[in-house]
Symmetry: C2
Subunit: 157 residues, 2 copies
DNA sequence: TATTGTTATACTCTATAACTATA
DNA sequence: TATAGTTATAGAGTATAACAATA
């Protein structure tokens, strides 16, 4: 019942195929690792984006994640319902919401980061430490090149 | 207007983020490279899956690509409309369709493979040849580990 | 008039269930 | 009874347009 091995020039050697499937596998491992904490990989991304910067508006966070602002709303709704973030009107510009991690959010973030680290380690289990590090560096080069100024627009995190 | 650089432990260092964005970038480059040929990266994957094996049923191809058989139908519909593949009832089991590349399909496949090779080269432009090769090998290890027997199920190619 | 957050809507992609024709 | 292909339908996920409040 297993997928047959592909010969020399098969689909499974295409970068599109490889990146997509690697992303799928990582998503699944993250989901499993984070499920006990009540969040998914996408929400961990939001928590990280909040923790890495000074408190900002929803749009700032959305931009960091290359997520549409309308998509951000539901994401924050869920995190707010879980008590992991707070939304407060900005003092000087009351159109904006200042989004911050709650202490519960910070706590969840710590645990979630550890859980996700384990998931990443599991995904790279077949690589030695050096190759794993090389993979990370190469991926960062590939992804960061396209970022400056370019509206990656769809999907994200 | 560019996305700010993330500090040390940011979202942009997470494998989930990196794989997803790398897949998105590859998809976009493939789409641009293949557009003149009238197909997309997904359809190139189908053509490759057909070329790599003896003529088989739709389900066999679907399985190779980890695509649902109901999803496969529309995919083949499109390729058949473009004259790139043919569907013929199997001689011995008339429930099955034998799917094959037409000569136009083979021709398109050749051109599309070249175009996609260029797109892949562009994506890896920031890496030297050795790192590019290491990346490919590592990705294949990661993805192939999960394949045998495991129903990767959703998404695919 | 422009912008932030929000809502409503539509569109894409995929999976689930049900139907047909074969076996 | 089971299977290959098909169709219809529903469910995520996302983007587009429109609206309210504020600047």
């Amino acid at each position: 019942m297993s997928t047959e091995d592909e010969p020399g020039s098969g689909v499974s050697k295409r970068l599109g195929y490889l990146f997509k499937h690697a992303a799928m596998l990582m998503e699944r491992l993250n989901a499993e690792a984070l499920a006990p904490l009540g969040i998914d990989g996408r929400e961990l991304g939001v928590l990280l984006a909040l923790a890495d910067h000074e408190p900002g508006s929803q749009q700032q966070v959305a931009h960091r994640l290359s997520v549409d602002r309308t998509t951000m709303v539901a994401l924050f709704d869920a995190l707010e319902d879980k008590g992991l973030v707070t939304r407060q009107p900005h003092a000087e510009d009351r159109r904006r919401n200042v989004v911050e991690l709650t202490s519960a959010g910070e706590d969840t973030l710590r645990q979630a980061t550890q859980a996700s680290d384990s998931a990443e380690h599991a995904l790279l289990a077949t690589l030695d430490a050096q190759d794993a590090q090389r993979l990370r560096v190469s991926l960062q080069k590939i992804v960061s090149v396209a970022r400056p100024g370019s509206p990656t627009s769809r999907l994200a995190n």
